[in-house]
Symmetry: D2
Subunit: 106 residues, 4 copies
């Protein structure tokens, strides 16, 4: 991906600001597939729609890695830490069966 951008002289466009916009646009394109579906329908996509959705997930993954590159951040380390944080914020006994945000716990 570094070489891909370098070969095309795209580093000038790949500021974190611009990449965060591009990533959000891709996230919205993913969401567009689901906006008029029921939750149940979104769980049972046909093969054609699933292939389209896979491409959107890939676009997001690619921009996410690219952002980590230009920000010089380790995405795997950051994700591991966040998973630990989430486990602490959402203890099983409080979170079970609840979609509340942890800030709403008493």
């Amino acid at each position: 991906m570094r070489r891909f951008a370098k070969d095309r002289e795209w580093d000038q466009f790949h500021s974190p600001k611009n990449l965060s916009m591009a990533l959000t646009v891709e996230a919205a394109e993913l969401m567009e597939h689901f906006q008029w579906l029921t939750e149940a329908q979104s769980r049972t996509l046909g093969p054609k729609q699933k292939a389209e959705v896979a491409k959107e997930l890939a676009d997001i993954q690619i921009y996410l890695i690219r952002l980590s590159q230009v920000l010089d951040l380790d995405l795997i380390v950051a994700s591991g830490r966040k998973l630990s944080d989430n486990a602490a914020k959402y203890p099983v006994e409080k979170a079970r069966g609840s979609a509340k945000k942890y800030t709403e716990y008493r």
Copy 2:
């Protein structure tokens, strides 16, 4: 992550529809860090803001993997394919130094 969701009985909330919303919300939270910065400023974050941004990237990564799980899609395969597609859509000689979308090439 599967166990994390199962232990909390969150599979009921984790429809692809809902997860695509959550992922987009996280992408917007990432973007919020950059919305009033210039592009140049977004390239030179201080350590505190960088740590905040790392958490947002992690949130996106976690939802992305979770979506792949519930959709039973291979994120690595899909990303590899998309990178190849992008290389074909954006040949170096046409893309060099240009931020145009491939659909605008002549």
Copy 3:
């Protein structure tokens, strides 16, 4: 709103690019209220949550007007035209009871 921005010397930050980011961030904040609700629950908000949602709608409206100002566009004219376009794109006999996009009509 023009005076509000001018008094605070915010015109420098209010490029269309930045305002489009801020508007999208507000749209995501609106959506966050609904991400873990069922569609049925989203139709029956309590008074407290409804008041919160009203503030998010207002934020979006404010940025939308502000964007029209800095782009020198007439939002009311544009909306009227789009409603006419939509009526032509989605004729009653084809659109009735269907969430398909017009590009999927045969």
Copy 4:
């Protein structure tokens, strides 16, 4: 807009949850026009791109009004209140020339 939806039997799809997704998707489509432009370029769109942007603003306005309808909220009242709130949160002497969020004021 009420009649438009009713004639097409679209009320079933127009839950606040779904409409908030559609609005966010439109916001992202607006933003897509600006993602690779500099801020300066975003201030000087040509007539063709400006016409495209006007359509995106209209889409957002339409969904915003539709959301207010299905939630039974008064968008004008809510926007007026929010403008007053903003004036109180961002006093001129603190906000002048600063893009800081009010929560960062001392």
